[in-house]
């Protein structure tokens, strides 16, 4: 599905990512972790073809990434939509289907059916006709995932879908993404700060820090020795109350 070999990215004369290597196979659930500024969102942009690597090989679905790839669904980091905007939930989701086509678009029962199906997939039919600005963060996030799902993608890229959500809503989104991943055999790459809500469902973890990355199962990657090597400074992983915490010394 996704292959990266010796990928380097420079932006504005500064190294963002150095020597990134990993592969993602079909239907895999991958979580990308790492501190702010580690290059997680940059990596997603690379896979979407919005930026080019300075060197190295990138293959997405067997091809060099390009813009407008229908086989990739993408939900960007969430921003709150204005409350007074005249747009229904189903209109927002519909962008995923034909938002990039010219013209006004005529009412089409088949289009309606596809949008309804995507809304049902994320359990959003109940508020399909509500104005998007009045929906909660979790509900808007579900719409963004529905939008990403519309074109029947084989790879789903989610940038911080759990940010600013409380524990209940986080669990909802995690259940939803797991269902999509397992049910339709779609590979998922999800960026997050906190792996704990995802520990039970994730296949492998990409941990990024200082422009470097390492990949493996959570048991392999989130250990004191691996993270110490990645950060280049002492780091300890603490297991407490069935949760993982990473603690590092100031450098």
């Amino acid at each position: 599905m996704v292959e990266l070999e010796h990928v380097n990215i420079q932006l504005g004369g500064r190294d963002i990512l150095e020597d990134i290597n990993f592969t993602v196979t079909e239907g895999e659930f991958i979580v990308m972790l790492g501190p702010n500024g580690a290059g997680k969102s940059t990596l997603l942009k690379l896979l979407l073809g919005l930026i080019n690597p300075s060197s190295g090989l990138v293959r997405v679905l067997g091809k060099t990434p390009r813009r407008g790839n229908q086989a990739i669904g993408y939900a960007p980091q969430h921003r709150t939509l204005e409350a007074d905007v005249a747009l229904r939930a189903r209109d927002l989701v519909g962008f995923g289907l034909d938002g990039h086509r010219w013209g006004i678009g005529w009412p089409d029962p088949q289009r309606q059916r596809i949008v309804d199906q995507a809304l049902a997939e994320v359990d959003a039919l109940a508020f399909a006709d509500a104005p998007v600005g009045q929906l909660s963060g979790g509900e808007q996030q579900r719409l963004l995932i529905a939008q990403a799902l519309l074109a029947n993608p084989r790879l789903l890229l989610l940038d911080e879908p759990l940010a600013n959500l409380d524990l209940n809503h986080q669990r909802e989104i995690v259940d939803l993404v797991t269902r999509v991943c397992r049910g339709h055999n779609i590979a998922v790459m999800l960026v997050t700060h906190d792996i704990n809500p995802l520990l039970q469902v994730v296949d492998r973890v990409i941990y990024m820090a200082h422009g470097h990355s390492t990949i493996g199962t959570p048991e392999e990657v989130i250990t004191s020795s691996t993270l110490t090597r990645l950060y280049g400074s002492p780091v300890e992983v603490i297991h407490a109350l069935d949760r993982l915490f990473v603690v590092g010394a100031e450098t």
Partner: protein, 281 residues
């Protein structure tokens, strides 16, 4: 050329211009920081209705200007501290006020002369009375802005934290809009309703691009404001072009030059090293 300085109208022009060139960049600094450029634009246009209405009633247009801008400032302030997202509301009020202004103008017989001086400024015809009103208004505004300087800056940059520290954010927001109303009203005499950005925003924005410290940005803004006003006056007297055109052209060209100069230089980037402290995995 300096012989012209003996004339009373030139003296009045220099006096009023100087007072306003000191006040406007200070208020303008906060306009830029608070991203309220549109509010400034709207207040000046709303003042247009006040000025034409006053002219219709035979009152000093400056007083009509004060009345309308202060009322509008209160109304905008009542919308809440989030003036930033209120462009549509502000714009609707603006166009309604302009509609009134058009009506007053059509009822007023001396249509064109009065319109030009309100829309484009008439610094060379400022009366001695108006110089005194300007001086009084500006000194009051200056004292107030000095009084609320630190909390206002705090509230402008981080309203949530400021509020938690007990800063009266809402009150400061309304207070600032009232000061903005006074500033716009007096500045309109120099550059007119349409060109008020030349004194209000341009010096502050240019200074903000050259320095990042609040105090030095304000000081530089004042220097620029004075340079634009005096330079514009001298240029206008020498060339017989309109004063407000000269001030606006100097101010905007100066801003454009700083913008271009900035983008030629390679940007200095701060390279933050992420560390894993307190990071949840």
């Amino acid at each position: 050329m300096f012989k012209l300085l003996q004339y009373e109208f030139v003296q009045n022009a220099f006096m009023a211009g100087t007072i306003i060139a000191i006040l406007a960049p200070i208020i303008g600094y906060f306009v830029v920081v608070r991203a309220q450029a549109f509010a400034g634009h709207a207040l000046s246009h709303i003042g247009f209705a006040g000025a034409t209405g006053a002219a219709l009633l035979g009152v000093n247009p400056l007083l009509g200007m004060f009345t309308f801008t202060l009322l509008a400032a209160l109304a905008i302030g009542a919308l809440g501290e989030r003036v930033r997202g209120r462009d549509v509301e502000t714009g609707m009020a603006l166009s309604f006020a302009l509609g009134l202004g058009v009506l007053f103008l059509s009822l007023y017989s001396q249509y064109s002369r009065e319109t030009v001086s309100i829309l484009f400024g008439s610094i060379l015809s400022i009366s001695h009375d108006n110089v005194l009103i300007t001086l009084a208004g500006s000194i009051a505004a200056l004292l107030l802005i000095l009084l609320m300087f630190r909390p206002l800056l705090f509230a402008s940059i981080d309203p949530v934290v400021a509020e938690s520290r007990g800063v009266p954010v809402r009150l400061l927001s309304i207070g600032f809009l009232l000061l903005l109303a006074v500033t716009v009203s007096v500045a309109v005499q120099v550059v007119g309703v349409l060109l008020v950005f030349a004194l209000l925003v341009a010096p502050a924005a240019t200074a903000g691009r050259l320095t990042h410290r609040p105090i030095s940005a304000i000081a530089l803004g004042i220097l620029l404001g004075l340079a634009f006003t005096w330079g514009g006056l001298v240029l206008a007297i020498a060339s017989r072009w309109p004063v407000s055109f000269c001030i606006a052209a100097l101010a905007s060209l100066c801003y454009v030059i700083t913008v271009l100069r900035r983008s030629w230089r390679t940007p200095h980037r701060y390279k933050a090293l992420p560390h894993p402290n307190r990071e949840y995995v």
